[in-house]
Structure formats: structure tokens, C-alpha cells
């Protein structure tokens, strides 16, 4: 078969043959034509460019040129920068200490002020309790105080005029009581004395006989004497005369007698019938408020409640926490506090120094431990002639007592309920600000190596603040000493681990407190 014929065969067979056309072929051709139509229409069309487009592109390029040059640019840094940053990073926050010092100063100032007030009160009313028992002290003549005797029936009239229903002693003391400052009391007494002088003059005018007049003057002079200060007598006399220049002869006589009696030292009142056992209801003036400064020693054994929390958010530290929980067991806590405080009525505030420890047992069994024994054999001259190395595999038990030690400044406020005399129930709350935090013992690392607690760097150097609440019973064993028993709960407000470390470690404490309190005043 010639080549021509061969081709013809194919041509004939295929000329009229029909192949299957894909269903969407016509759609595709139509869409192409549609696009072509748009292309033809819009191809040569030029739209107006928005104003500033080129400028905008230029601006972007301008910005970009700065960004490119500066984003990765490195500038030299002065040598002094890092030491300053380092110092700031490791600087301790002393604000809590300063606050506590301020509070301490405030307390000391308050104590001094109270102490000063107390001394002033005692000076104005020396041993005022003694007045109650009719036992006047030696310094009774200070500040206008003279022996006070109960008035007789003859003087009752004047006494009642002075202050109905009370004795002279009550009058003099009640005057002073109402105005504690020294100068105020003297001023009040002077005013009162002038009123009395006026009344005496009036009484003298009313006296009908010379005997009555004399008796009246004598009785009144005792009151005058009682109210006069030795330093004020001359002034008082002249004041009396000057203030009543127009009174009659009887009045003048009475005044002279009053004056003369007032000035005579060592005047006796034997002719007057004094009641030797007066019932003077004198208020307690020595301490207007029950305040005291005290020292307290407290011993606080207890049990620590440890919490180890994974704060990483992805629980990647949880296995390590479990390992630590298995190897470290909190056993006990112990505290010793030396406190100074103020009691005021049923409130107290105290501060001082507190030392406390948390004890744990670290117990770790390393079953994959090994040890290498190297034996070196030397000759007589010391030269090494043989070395034997033996490696032993086995279990190693590592046990140690871990101690976390805290030195704190406590500030504690208390409120007392007194069910009975000498018995007190105290409700207390406060805070311990940590000054120093130390640790010793062993800890497991994440790679299960046993590390010295002192070497790990994820603990803080100060433990922050913890709050305490307590309920206590206190028994007064003497006037100045008392012993107490407390149930104390202590809650930490900050972690022992540094910020950023994925495990938070805290200790709550449940403690029993034994205390001895000694009142300084």
C-alpha cells in the first residue's frame, strides 16, 4: 500500500467521525466572547488618576526609605547604662519598711504623748486616790490644795450655797476635775474664792451679834484658806477690799477679820467641830483612761500548709511540681516574737520583731545513681604505676531537713472582750512584713538533680507580706503580768518564688501561740 492510500484510509475513516463535545464548551466560548467584548471596549480607555496619587506613592517611598535605614540600625550604648539597669533590677523595694518605721514612730509618739498627759494629770491631782481615804499627801499645798475637812453643821449653810448636796472636798475636786489644765484650775479656784468672799461679806452683814459674826467669819475663813493659794493671798485680800469700797462698817470688820485670818500662818480650826470620818465620794482622777505600755514575748509552734501552683498556663511544670511534692514534706513551723505595744481601754496595737521557721523534710531516692571509684597505685617514689577505675550503680538516698527562715516586722491590732475581771478574750488581726528570707536544705531540680536550696535562684530574697488573724485568751496573773494562749492563722499575700517563675510557692500557717505580757505602766 502506497503512502497515499494509507493516508486516504485514515481520512475516510475519520472524515465523518464525530467526537463527544464537553457540555460546557459552548458556555466557555460565550464567556470568552463576553470578556473579549469588555476588553475591546475598555482596553484603550484611560481613567483620570486621583489627585495626589503620585504624591502618595512618593510619600510611601519616603517613609519606606526612613524605615529601611532605621529599623535595623544599631546605635552605640554608653557603658554606664547597664550598671544602672542592673542596680535598678536588683534594688529592693523598701516602701513597706518605711511604712512600718513611720507607724513605729507614730506609736512611739502616741506613747510619749499619753505618758506626758498622765504625768500632767498626776501633778494636778497628786495621789487623788488618797483623797478618797482622807489621806492627803505631803505636797498637798501645791496648786492651792490644803487639808480638806468635812464641813460641820455650822458651815453646812455656806457649803450648800457653794454647791448644794456636796462637800467642800467634792467641790474643790470637781472644779479641778472639770478643767484639768493647771492654769485653768487656778483661775477657776480664784473665781470661786471671790464668789465665796462676796458671800462671806453678805453673811457678815446679816450677823446680828459680834459672837455670831466672829463664828461666821471663823468658819468662812477656813473655806477661804482652803481655796487660797499661799502665793495668791495678798492679791486676794486687796482684790476683796478694792472690789467693795462702799460697804458698811460691819462688812469692813468682817473683811478685816477674813483678811487677817487668811494671812495668819498655822491657823487652827480646833474650835470648829469637824467630822473626822467624812464620806467623800471622790471620783477616780489619777487615770482617766486605762492605757498601758507593755512588752510581750510569744512562742508560736504550728503546722505549715504549703501550696505549689503551676502558673505557666500550659501545665508544663505540673510533673515537676508532683516530684517536688513527693520529695518535700512540710513538718512544722515555729515562731518567736518580741513585741512592744500599747493598750488603750480594750484596744491594743503592737509591733516588734518576729523570727519564724518552716521545717520540711527532703527525702529523695535516686535509683539511677552511680559512683566511680578510682584506685591509683604508686611505687615507693610516688610514681603512678597502675590506675583502677570501678563504677558502681545503685540507689542513693538523700535526706535533709529544709528550713525556710523569716525575719518579719509584725504590726498587730487587737480588741478585747472581758467576760470577767482578770480574764480577757482577744481578737487580733495584723500583718507581718518580711525583712529577710533565708533558706537551707535541698531541693530537686527539674532534671532530678539534688540542688542546695541556697543555690537555686528562683526564690525571692524577701517574702513580702502575710496577714494574720488570731483568737486569744489572756489571764492576768498579777497587776503587771499576764499569760495568754492564742489560735493563729497566717495567710501569705505574696509568693516565695520570683515573679515570672512558673511555680508559685506559698505557706499558710496554723499556729498556737503562748504569750507572756508585762505591763511597763
Amino acid at each position: 500500500m502506497s503512502e497515499q492510500k494509507f493516508d486516504d484510509v485514515f481520512r475516510r475513516r475519520l472524515e465523518d467521525a464525530e467526537s463527544r463535545v464537553p457540555g460546557d464548551l459552548w458556555d466557555a466560548v460565550a464567556a470568552q466572547k463576553f470578556d473579549e467584548a469588555f476588553r475591546t471596549q475598555l482596553g484603550a480607555f484611560s481613567s483620570a488618576v486621583p489627585a495626589g496619587a503620585w504624591s502618595s506613592i512618593q510619600q510611601q517611598k519616603f517613609d519606606q526609605s526612613f524605615a529601611t535605614r532605621l529599623r535595623q540600625a544599631v546605635s552605640p550604648v554608653s557603658d554606664h547604662i547597664w550598671p544602672q539597669i542592673s542596680r535598678r533590677l536588683h534594688q529592693r523595694d523598701r516602701t513597706p519598711i518605711l511604712l512600718l518605721l513611720l507607724l513605729g514612730l507614730l506609736m512611739a509618739g502616741t506613747a510619749l504623748k499619753w505618758s506626758s498627759d498622765r504625768k500632767t494629770t498626776d501633778g494636778v491631782f497628786p495621789n487623788a486616790r488618797a483623797v478618797q481615804g482622807n489621806q492627803l499627801p505631803d505636797n498637798q499645798n501645791q496648786l492651792g490644795f490644803v487639808p480638806v475637812e468635812a464641813p460641820t453643821a455650822e458651815t453646812d449653810k455656806d457649803t450648800q450655797e457653794l454647791q448644794p448636796g456636796s462637800s467642800m472636798a467634792e467641790n474643790s475636786i470637781s472644779l479641778a476635775q472639770s478643767s484639768p489644765p493647771k492654769h485653768s484650775i487656778v483661775s477657776d479656784l480664784r473665781t470661786h474664792k471671790e464668789e465665796k468672799a462676796s458671800k462671806i461679806r453678805g453673811s457678815a452683814n446679816r450677823a446680828s451679834t459680834p459672837a455670831e459674826e466672829e463664828a461666821l467669819i471663823a468658819s468662812n475663813s477656813s473655806h477661804e484658806h482652803m481655796l487660797s493659794s499661799p502665793h495668791e493671798k495678798s492679791v486676794d485680800a486687796s482684790d476683796s477690799e478694792d472690789s467693795h469700797p462702799t460697804e458698811g462698817p460691819s462688812s469692813a470688820h468682817a473683811q478685816r477679820n477674813v483678811s487677817s485670818l487668811s494671812y495668819v500662818p498655822g491657823i487652827t480650826f480646833e474650835h470648829l467641830n469637824f467630822d473626822r470620818n467624812p464620806q467623800i465620794n471622790c471620783p477616780n482622777l489619777s487615770v482617766g483612761r486605762r492605757s498601758s505600755l507593755f512588752l510581750e514575748l510569744r512562742l508560736t509552734p504550728g503546722y505549715p500548709l504549703r501550696s505549689l501552683k503551676d502558673t505557666s498556663g500550659n501545665e508544663e511544670s505540673t510533673p515537676y511540681i508532683e516530684r517536688r511534692k513527693n520529695t518535700e514534706q512540710p513538718t512544722s513551723t515555729f515562731g518567736l516574737q518580741a513585741l512592744v505595744g500599747l493598750e488603750f481601754e480594750d484596744l491594743e496595737v503592737k509591733t516588734g520583731v518576729a523570727l519564724s521557721q518552716i521545717h520540711e523534710v527532703f527525702d529523695f531516692i535516686d535509683q539511677t545513681s552511680s559512683r566511680t571509684i578510682v584506685d591509683t597505685i604508686r611505687d615507693m617514689s610516688g610514681n603512678v604505676i597502675d590506675i583502677s577505675i570501678v563504677r558502681e550503680y545503685g540507689t542513693r538516698l538523700k535526706r535533709s531537713n529544709n528550713r525556710y527562715t523569716f525575719i518579719d516586722i509584725p504590726l498587730i491590732f487587737g480588741y478585747r472582750i472581758r467576760p470577767k475581771e482578770d480574764h480577757s478574750i482577744w481578737l487580733r488581726a495584723g500583718a507581718h512584713v518580711n525583712l529577710a528570707f533565708m533558706k537551707s536544705g535541698s531541693i530537686l531540680s527539674e532534671s532530678e538533680d539534688v540542688l542546695d536550696l541556697k543555690e537555686v535562684d528562683f526564690f525571692k530574697t524577701r517574702a513580702g507580706i502575710r496577714g494574720t488573724v488570731s483568737l486569744g485568751y489572756e489571764l492576768d496573773i498579777t497587776d503587771k503580768n499576764s499569760i495568754g494562749l492564742q489560735l493563729i492563722y497566717s495567710h501569705p499575700f505574696s509568693n516565695l518564688t520570683i515573679d515570672g517563675y512558673p511555680i508559685q510557692q506559698q505557706y499558710k500557717r496554723a499556729q498556737v501561740g503562748f504569750s507572756w505580757k508585762h505591763k511597763l505602766w
Binding site: Q64, S78, Q84, D499
Partner: protein, 178 residues
């Protein structure tokens, strides 16, 4: 020491890791501070403050995104803290209609980085901050407005004025008459 180790060390407040990170990024961050600050002394203050913040907050870095970008943001925020909103209150809002001179985008190529920083430092405070945030950090006007507590329009105005000033300075440097 790779980046993860450095970060972990910094979280544990290890001095060596902190120093390593400081050596690694302080140069770049100094450039950031210099751009925002009026002078070198201010920039050093910002740098110190920024590093203290960085080391205190490094545990908050989640590991997502660029670590350098995260650090840069701390320094930018530290720099911005120095500038109060009141600095912008007195700025007049409105774009001056000034024909911007043509400037080749490669005009900066003849300048060193320190000269470019000096140019930026010469800008008034408001201009400088907005230009830095928009042109170099890539913040939008909306973000700048939110960050600085100003209007978006103010941000745009500040940026245009900053550009104009920079262009003038550059043209002057290249002795191109305006």
C-alpha cells in the same frame, strides 16, 4: 545560648542572661529611643526604663510573634509614656496647603544612620512621635490616635507636617533650591 535559653534565664532573673539580652538588643533599642527622644540623655533614660520594664515583664512573652518586635513595642510604649496628651492639645488641626517639593526617595542614601536620627530628633515633639509611629513602626493613624489619645485628623496633620519638615531639611542638605 539560644533565644529560649536567654528568655528562660531572664525569667529566673539570672544576671548573665539579662546581660546577654542587653548586649543583644540594646544597640537597636537605643536607635528606637533616639528616634523618639529629643536628645541622647532622654534616649538613655527611655532605654533604662525600657530594659527595667522588659526584664520585669519578660515572663509575659508568650513566644508567639517576633521577640524583637515584642521588645521594640515595650520601648516604643516607654518612649510614648514620656509624652503626654497635653502636648498635642495645643497643636492646630488642619493641613497646610504647601506644595511639596519633589524629592528622590534615595536622598537618604548619602546620609548615615546617625545623621538621619539627628534629622528626626530636630522635629517638634508631636511631629516626631507621629512620624516615628507611622513611617517607621507601621502603626495606622487609628492606632496612633488611640495610643496618644488624639484625633486621627491630628495624627494625619502631624505626619504631613513632619514629612514636610524632613523634606525641607533633606533638600537643604542636598542644596536643592525650594
Amino acid at each position: 545560648m539560644n533565644q529560649e535559653e536567654v528568655i528562660a534565664g531572664c525569667i529566673r532573673q539570672e544576671h548573665a542572661c539579662q546581660k546577654h539580652l542587653f548586649d543583644l538588643v540594646s544597640g537597636k533599642m537605643m536607635t528606637v529611643c533616639l528616634r523618639y527622644a529629643r536628645n541622647r540623655a532622654d534616649a538613655e533614660d527611655i532605654l533604662q526604663e525600657g530594659f527595667v520594664l522588659l526584664f520585669k515583664n519578660i515572663a509575659k512573652y508568650q513566644g508567639t510573634g517576633s521577640f524583637e518586635g515584642w521588645i521594640r513595642r515595650i520601648f516604643v510604649n516607654t518612649a510614648l509614656k514620656k509624652y503626654q496628651r497635653k502636648r498635642f492639645d495645643k497643636e492646630r488641626v488642619g493641613i497646610e496647603h504647601v506644595q511639596e517639593p519633589e524629592l528622590d526617595a534615595t536622598a537618604l542614601s548619602s546620609l548615615s544612620e546617625q545623621e538621619i536620627i539627628a534629622l528626626i530628633q530636630e522635629l517638634p515633639e508631636g511631629y516626631r512621635i507621629v512620624f516615628n509611629m507611622f513611617a517607621i513602626e507601621g502603626y495606622s493613624h487609628k492606632e496612633i490616635a488611640a495610643q496618644l489619645g488624639i484625633n486621627e485628623a491630628t495624627s494625619r496633620t502631624q505626619l504631613l507636617k513632619a514629612r514636610k519638615q524632613l523634606q525641607r531639611k533633606l533638600l537643604k542638605l542636598h542644596s536643592i533650591p525650594l
